[in-house]
Amino acid sequence: MPEVIKGKVHKFGRDIDTDVIIPARYLTSFDPYELGKYCFHDLDESFSQKVKPGDIIVAGENFGCGSSREHAPLAIKGAGIAAVIAESFARIFLRNSINIGLTVIEAPGISQFADEGDELEVDLDAGEIRNLSKNTSLKFNPLPEFLNRIIAVGGLIEFAKERLKTK
């Protein structure tokens, strides 16, 4: 995972649900690139074409509410999005993102901080988001230590392998 992520903002409101992130009719696949083509299809059919690798989603409260489909963060990742920054996340979406290696950042105040098309630079180590278009910055809290244990070894599957050694 790069320590600094830089990209353009694609902005969404609150309560963005997993059905609009990836509609159920595409769930027969779990290939990130295939799913990525249909990411946000019902809100904006051209979304995946607009995204450049490294772009960032900015959203309001409760991002990813609804279903437990891991296909939702997979679709976002497959579309080329490098990070999702939201006021808050629905819990299963947050878990799934960590597990599949999509960077998710809970940053209260982000909706006011960034607008559609702004260029953001996210410094994961420093816990800081810089808005290069507006020349402002916003601090965020790092993930709890326990979750960093999982991320540090490279995700849940690697964590599982580590745990197996202790059994």
Partner: protein
């Protein structure tokens, strides 16, 4: 300091960490569930972990229910992968089409979900099993793979919101109306990361089927789980499956983040308008005539026998309105059979309904009743997000079985009083 039901269940399962609200723990898992959408990625992840077999072949459950009977070749391939995995690892609880049904109605029926268990399922409505005093929560496929390999998983022990259910149920009101009312009050993230713990004097008249409906939709308020206190109704249910059950009660001085008092006597039949389950209104307050194209009675929320009995009682001897398609799907084979014995299926078919074999199908816009552009549906399921049941310009209204049946007969959203 007293503890909540959730904290007590975590205490009996903790492997590492302190089982108090807010802390992270590794905990032992009693049951892991997957369906035909979530199992294939979980199987791939499981294979990457590299264990020889599952942690306990009696505690892994595989239910092909979402796109089954297979709606297309891709679905058929996914289910085939699940079936072969089940055979390879001698998993007892694989439920084939025709011998199963919708997972969250099926598992309790088979006695697989018991009080005090810690259950994870790769399906957000896994929280349904809180109705039987278990801590059950939805996770993704990678989490399910981890749990299936190691028999454990990490959790943040959640804070609890206590919901006291009091008063008496009004005519036709069921669990669906209570939970829609609550979601309308607190919003779709009102219980985000938290547990909704239900108890109170209303339990004496609240059926187990209604409790399943309430616990099922806890996730629609963002909750991690919805757990009911045990009572006589649960004692008699569980005696069929477990001779020595262990029940979990909250301490009288348990620490709650919030306490909500819900008086059923004040709660009327509810409808959630598009496109969020929190957009609720009393049916009696809907002044305009909202005509619908389709009514769906079924799903893990309201496809149980109580729901079918209520709907059949209202539909009996009447016809489905000319411009409406009524789709009825009993949630499991057992429920289907019971409905046949009681003559309920005959009532639906005679009224002009399409009765389908158990599947999640239309609830998630999978198959068996997809909406076209501009169509409106009233559904007894759990979500009315944009495009949930079909075209992005279709609309879904959510309600319980009584409003659904009355709406199917009238052709527009209404209460049973208007058609009886």
């Amino acid at each position: 300091m007293g503890r909540t039901i959730a904290e007590k269940i975590f205490e009996t399962h903790v492997i590492e960490g302190n089982p108090a609200a807010g802390d992270f723990v590794l905990a032992r898992i009693d049951l892991v569930l997957m369906n035909d959408i979530t199992a294939p990625p979980a199987i791939k992840a499981f294979e990457k972990i590299g264990v020889e077999t599952v942690f306990d072949r009696t505690r892994v459950v595989l239910v092909p229910d979402h796109f089954t009977p297979n709606k297309d070749i891709e679905s058929a391939m996914n289910v085939k992968m699940m079936r072969e995995f089940a055979r390879k690892h001698a998993i007892e609880n694989y439920f084939e089409v025709g011998r199963g049904g919708v997972e969250h109605a099926l598992l309790p029926e088979k006695g697989l979900t018991l009080p005090g268990m810690l259950i994870v399922g790769a399906d957000s409505h896994t929280c349904t099993y809180g109705a039987v005093n278990a801590f059950a929560t939805g996770v993704g496929s990678t989490d399910a793979a981890y749990a299936m390999a190691l028999g454990e998983l990490w959790f943040k022990v959640p804070e609890t919101i206590r919901v006291n259910l009091e008063g008496h149920l009004n005519p036709w009101v069921t669990g669906k109306d209570l939970i829609l009312k609550l979601i309308g009050m607190i919003g779709v993230d009102g219980a985000r990361y938290k547990v909704l713990e239900f108890g109170g004097s209303l339990l004496k008249e609240l059926s187990l089927d209604s409790r399943f409906t309430i616990a099922n939709m806890a996730v629609e308020a963002g909750a991690k789980a919805g757990i009911f206190e045990p009572d006589e109704t649960l004692f008699s249910w569980v005696s069929e499956f477990d001779p020595e059950p262990e029940f979990f009660y909250p301490d009288s001085d348990a620490r709650y983040e919030e306490v909500i008092d819900l008086n059923a006597s004040d709660i009327d039949l509810q409808v959630a308008f598009p496109h969020l389950p929190s957009n609720t209104r009393n049916v009696s307050e809907i002044k305009e005539k909202i005509y619908v194209d389709q009514v769906f009675i079924g799903s893990c929320t309201n496809g149980r026998i109580e729901d079918l009995r209520i709907a059949a009682h209202i539909v009996k001897g009447k016809k489905v309105a000319e411009n409406v398609r009524l789709i009825v799907i009993p949630a499991t084979q057992e429920i289907y059979r019971q409905a046949l014995k009681e003559g309920l299926i005959d009532i639906f078919v005679e009224a002009g309904a399409a009765v389908g074999t158990p599947t999640c199908g239309p609830c998630l816009g999978g198959h068996h009743g997809i909406l076209a552009k501009g169509e409106k549906a009233l559904s007894t399921s759990n979500r009315n997000f944009i495009g949930r049941m079909g075209h992005k310009e279709s609309e879904v209204y959510l309600a319980g079985p009584a409003v659904a049946a009355a709406t199917a007969v009238a052709g527009y959203i209404t209460s049973p009083a208007e058609v009886l």
